[in-house]
């Protein structure tokens, strides 16, 4: 299969600090790839570069053959590359339903040609009904139908992540970047989420994941890319990564929480936690 996303020798520097040094990897269409590494390895920075929130100091990212150089975040989303955020994944003051309605911005744009004029003249009726149906369907899919009239900001953390995923899916992406989607979720929520990720892939959406939950990463990924200090140190299927000396070294070299993560990564080989 061909590469849908190519990170081509990307480097990011903040002043003298090197956040990413010469990062180079591809994601092929239909894959689930995870980007892992200890804290501060540059994973979120890499996401920010791919989605136009940060300009790389060197190199470029190509999506479906198009260079993303100089494109604003909203323009990149329009090409079919969507993302979620680590911390704030919702529009807090709106209901869950309205959140998804905001997320359907692009779909709405396709339905009406002159949106502001349509709105002023009240021509948007049919399109609006279609959008509502779509929003309801999306919420149903991610399992938030029951919460649809609640304020998104008042939801539990794990549910907010799901809203974030629904928002990203609302843009009808060809590829989805998930930034620590299961952080703050308990074991059963994580299990449901893994199932959701697989369903998303079945719909033909490629997935790139940043995550600290090693068992989950090992279970769901086709391939894993490992970063440390802004450099790519390993790349390959979960089995190979689990036993890669450089990866183990990177995690053991860090604090105890990272050691735990590495340990649990090994643990998951023996007993698959998420079915």
């Amino acid at each position: 299969m061909s590469a849908i996303l190519s990170v081509d020798h990307v480097g990011v520097r903040f002043g003298g600090l090197v956040a990413i040094a010469d990062l180079h990897f591809d994601v092929r269409e239909g894959e689930i790839v995870s980007l892992i590494g200890p804290n501060g390895a540059g994973k979120t920075t890499a996401f920010n570069v791919m989605t136009g929130f940060l300009k790389p100091s060197q190199g470029e990212v190509r999506f479906r053959g198009t260079s993303l150089k100089g494109l604003a975040p909203h323009a990149i989303t329009r090409l079919g590359l969507a993302r979620t955020f680590q911390r704030t994944s919702v529009f807090p003051d709106d209901t869950v339903f309205d959140n998804v309605m905001i997320g359907l911005h692009q779909v709405g744009g396709r339905l009406g040609r002159a949106p502001v004029l349509d709105a002023l003249l009240g021509r948007a009726g049919a399109g609006e009904r279609q959008l509502r149906a779509r929003a309801a369907a999306l919420l149903d899919w991610v399992g938030l139908s029951g919460r649809m009239h609640e304020k998104a900001g008042a939801l539990a953390y794990g549910e907010q992540r799901l809203v974030g995923v629904a928002l990203a899916l609302a843009t009808e992406p060809a590829m989805l970047l998930l930034d620590e989607p299961v952080s703050g979720m308990n074991a059963s929520e994580t299990r449901v989420f893994v199932r959701l990720i697989r369903q998303v892939r079945e719909r033909g959406i490629t997935i790139l994941l940043v995550e600290h939950d090693m068992p989950m990463v090992m279970e769901v990924s086709d391939r894993i890319v490992v970063l440390n200090y802004g450099r790519l140190i390993a790349e390959g299927p979960p089995d190979r990564i689990r036993n890669d000396p450089a990866v183990i070294e990177a995690y053991l070299g860090q604090g105890s929480s990272a050691r735990q993560a590495a340990k649990s990564a090994h643990g998951s080989a023996r007993e698959p936690v998420h079915a």
């Binding site: 989605t51 704030t88 948007a124 609006e128 649809m148």
Partner: protein, 344 residues
């Protein structure tokens, strides 16, 4: 319920002059209040719905007033380099349209700017813009008469060729004109807010990064909001010029922006009814206070009321009352009404 309230208010405002009889003082206060309320509604589009605090809003209002007045008065100005601009008077209705367009164009500039500078910087840029415009009105005497004011501005004339024309000279006629324009603005804003565009504005206000990530173009959205907001303020300015029939550079005073901000914040920013309720209260407060105290003291009360409202009802009167009555604010209610049944 939330739809009945504006309708009831509208009915009340339509009937009000009948109840008041011919009280020119009260009618005058109502007309000026109405015009300022239109300004407040337009300000709310920026301040409430996009979260951009524009403290130079009066610039759009004043530009509308001057453009409309000059269009209907005509002018003859030396532009330098041997160029001269001569303009024969046109009907006030044309002035109204041009005022809307000119203010909208200025709104475009401010909107483009608002993407570059945010927060406190944006506030100060907008104030500066208004001050520059005021100083131009004050100093370009050949065009604006400067402090001597533009006088004899014609009153509005409405009508269609072949059907006849009416010149709106009486206060009562002006009252209904302002009410009509105000209602129209309210409906336009309501439409806009509940549309895809309105959702984009809300998204940007609540979580900008997330809004960008779902494909919302921030520059475009903020610019369009600024253009519409400014155009409405310009329309209000035009009404003001043709009602008072005299304007001077004092229409650009910062205090008027402050009045509009108070109306929006006190009423409830980011709600449809907020600026209307706030506008009526703060527009008519001087009427209530006039018999009991001096104008300076009235302003002191104004300031006190603003602080008290911020303290007691920080989100404004309309959302505060709605919460107290156990209802949701008017903004999101219609969305709820129209949402489809939960698919099981």
């Amino acid at each position: 319920m939330t739809r009945l309230l504006p309708l009831a208010l509208l009915a009340g405002l339509v009937a009000l002059p009948l109840a008041l009889g011919a009280n020119p003082y009260l009618l005058n206060a109502l007309i000026v209040t109405g015009i300022l309320t239109i300004g407040a509604m337009s300000l709310n589009l920026l301040l409430g719905f996009t979260g951009q605090l524009s403290l130079g809003h009066i610039a759009f209002f004043g530009i509308g007033a001057y453009v409309s007045a000059l269009t209907s008065l005509g002018f003859d100005v030396e532009l330098g380099f041997g160029l001269r601009a001569v303009h024969e008077p046109w009907p006030p209705v044309v002035g109204f349209l041009l005022a809307t367009v000119a203010a909208g164009a200025c709104g475009y500039l401010i909107g483009r700017l608002s993407f570059r500078v945010r927060g406190a910087y944006f506030v100060i840029v907008t104030i500066s813009f208004a001050e520059v415009v005021r100083l131009v009105a004050l100093n370009w005497v050949e065009l604006t008469q400067g402090p001597l004011a533009l006088t004899n501005i014609p009153a509005f004339t409405l009508g269609l060729p072949g059907l006849g024309f009416w010149t709106l000279k009486s206060k009562l006629q002006n009252y209904y004109l302002v009410l009509a324009v105000g209602t129209l603005c309210y409906l336009l804003i309501a439409r806009l807010v509940h549309s895809r565009f309105g959702r984009a504005m809300r998204g940007l206000k609540e979580n900008e990064s997330l809004a960008l990530s779902v494909g919302i173009n921030a520059t475009r959205t903020l610019t369009v909001a600024a253009v519409i907001s400014a155009a409405m303020a310009g329309a209000a300015g035009s009404l003001y010029a043709h009602y008072l029939r005299i304007i001077d550079p004092d229409v650009f005073l910062f205090a008027t922006t402050v009045t509009m901000v108070i109306m929006v914040v006190a009423g409830g920013k980011g709600t449809l009814m907020g600026p209307v309720v706030g506008g009526l209260i703060f527009g008519l407060l001087p009427v209530a206070l006039r018999p009991v105290m001096a104008p300076e003291a009235q302003w002191i009360v104004y300031g006190l009321v603003l602080i008290v409202i911020l303290f007691v009802l920080p989100r404004g009167i309309v959302p505060g009352m709605a919460a107290r009555l156990g209802r949701r604010p008017a903004r999101s209610a219609p969305v709820l009404e129209a949402s489809p049944a939960v698919p099981q």
